[in-house]
Amino acid sequence: MEEVFILIRGTLMMKWKSTYLFILSLGMIIFLTACGGESEQTGSDAEGNNSDGGSTGEEVRGVTDDEIIIGNIVAQSGPQAIYGQIAQGIQTYFDYVNENGGVHGRQLKLLAYDGEYTPAVEMQQAQRLVEEEEVFLMLGNDCTPCNTATKEYYEEQGVINMMLGSGAQQFYEPPSDFFFGSEIANYRIETRVFYDYAVNELDAGRIAIVYQNDDYGKEGYEAVEAVRDDYDAEVVTEVPFVANEEDYTTHAQKVKDADVDTVIMLSTPNPAARLKQEFHAIGLTDINYIVSSVGGNDTTMFELAGEDVWEGTYSAGSIPVPDAPEAEGNEAIETYLEQYTEAYPGENYSGVPQWGYAGAEVFVEALERAGEDLNYDTFREALYSFDNWTEGTYAGVTFSPENHYGLTTLFMTRAQNGTIESVTDLINYDPETGEINYE
């Protein structure tokens, strides 16, 4: 009987020990997880405020005494592979800078990965560049939906993204510590300028807005909606379309039925060219046709739509097209043309590759201004010192703690004689007041 008691007591003791060990182990796991989590969350503190991921103690991620590593993700394959030219533009300028001694003795090393214009792929590449390659920052990433998908990750990791290949508002309003500037004009700013120019300079009275029915097209559409009552003109029809539509006969017919004098087209290149072809096909040739810079400010549009059809189309630019008359004597553009055509002979040199090159110019200028002691604090201060900087190929670049757009200066262009020519002086938009000023 006594043996039975001993056995029961022993079993209870073992159970108690097991429970004790289990609770102890659980506590240790929770403790270690919490410690581990804390060490990984370099981007946010307990209140959720962002902190720098660029600096870890005295070391700055991606920066050594003789090198700075920069990451880039653009589509290098698939239907949107044209955006791979952004990486080519960046590489061209980095090579030029490196040949001339680098920045404060440091060489610039670009790691450009293929994002396939797909958010899931771009997220994987972002993790690879940030966590494995430990880049200093990301430069010139393309694709609005991809940037939307990765925005939170970069902010959590505390990685600066600059000169995005997207003009969507969400990256600049409200200003984020980790997003600075776009390679192309902000969609809302550009459309505001279009509307202003159409009414005040082209005497537009009856306007049609044709827009791509997605995040990109709707940004511009909403910008017009916000100010349409401020002008002495009427938006008489709004025609949405899906980006991959093949047939634009009905869209053209809707515009014709509305009897408008001006069409503002917010789209990528193919629909912009297709719609204008359809206008010509149904005899609608005496209207002002204004196309967003992403879709219209490129000489390849003459080839797509046909020279006679594309002639007269308005758009906007923030970088002069190399073949345009105003580019003559522009040293920055001449240097670009010389460097890019040498690096990529026979390839298209207007439009997309210019975005990458110009974005790299802004980045390098900020590095110069940040000085030898490079970290995120000195880099941000350097960016905030840009006040209508015009020494690169961009028409003007401005940053401030309240203005993270970068590109708020642009000019209207017109397709004329096989090239894209500037038809205005510089137009400045003030993000704080919403005012548009023509120089």
């Binding site: 044209i82 949405p240 539509e245 093949e246 047939d247 009905t250 017919q253 390849t300 797509l304």
Partner: protein, 291 residues
Amino acid sequence: MEALLQITFGGLIFGSIYALAAIGIVMIYKTTDVVNFAHGEMAMITTFISFTFLQMVGLSFFVSFLLALIFAAIFGMTVYQAIIKRVQNAPPLNQIVVTLGLFLAFNGIAGLIWGYTPHGYPSALRGDSFQVGSVFMSPHQLFILGITLALMILFFILFKYTKIGLAMRATQQDMQTSSLMGIKVSQVFNLTWAAGAILGGVAGILTAPITYLEPSMMIDILIMGFAAAVFGGFVNLPGAVIGGLIVGVYSNWVSYYIGSELSVAFVFLLIVLVLYVKPTGLFGAKYVKKV
């Protein structure tokens, strides 16, 4: 009324392109029992070849057109001999996976060779639009309509009234018996794949001035081509053409009166309704295969 006529005419033009894509798909299926999902990408490659003759070699449009169609015939036969023949007797699912694989492979190869930047492509017949009543039409649009109707009649006669057409129909019904009856089945299949690729090539070359030349130019056309083929009955050539024209016009009406975002959805809704009422498609006959 003026707008209705104009968008109806526009629908007939796109409908003709869908019809051309559908004829090629139907023809290959009707003879070989293979649903060729790579049809559009084969057409795209033929169009790029014609563009190469046109731009790089500097040949005229019609010479480039003819040379590209010769290429298409060889290309179609090569695809059949090198790949499809091996899976001719495989289960339908395997055949589908093979043609889907070819679709992806051809798309990727075209991207590597010619890049993804869209190119403008010249029209077969250049010239300004002119008005007939209240409807504007261009020489290229009339060329598309004419070619579609001509090819439909040509292939209908070929299938119905010629020996080769009879051989094609017999082969589709019973490959073994046809072979025993002296029909050279392999030659019939070669010819069918060549003709199918030529039809696709014509569709591609007529589409390129409208949708521009790029590796993904035929993807949406192929989807609507399949819709047209199913609508028409899938084994009926005039049915495929009429299906294509109905899909084109109906799609434009939906786009104009309801919204362009909904046109594809409404097209497939119509097809569901048609198949619900007549499961073999509008012109398809109930077909019992002898065993």
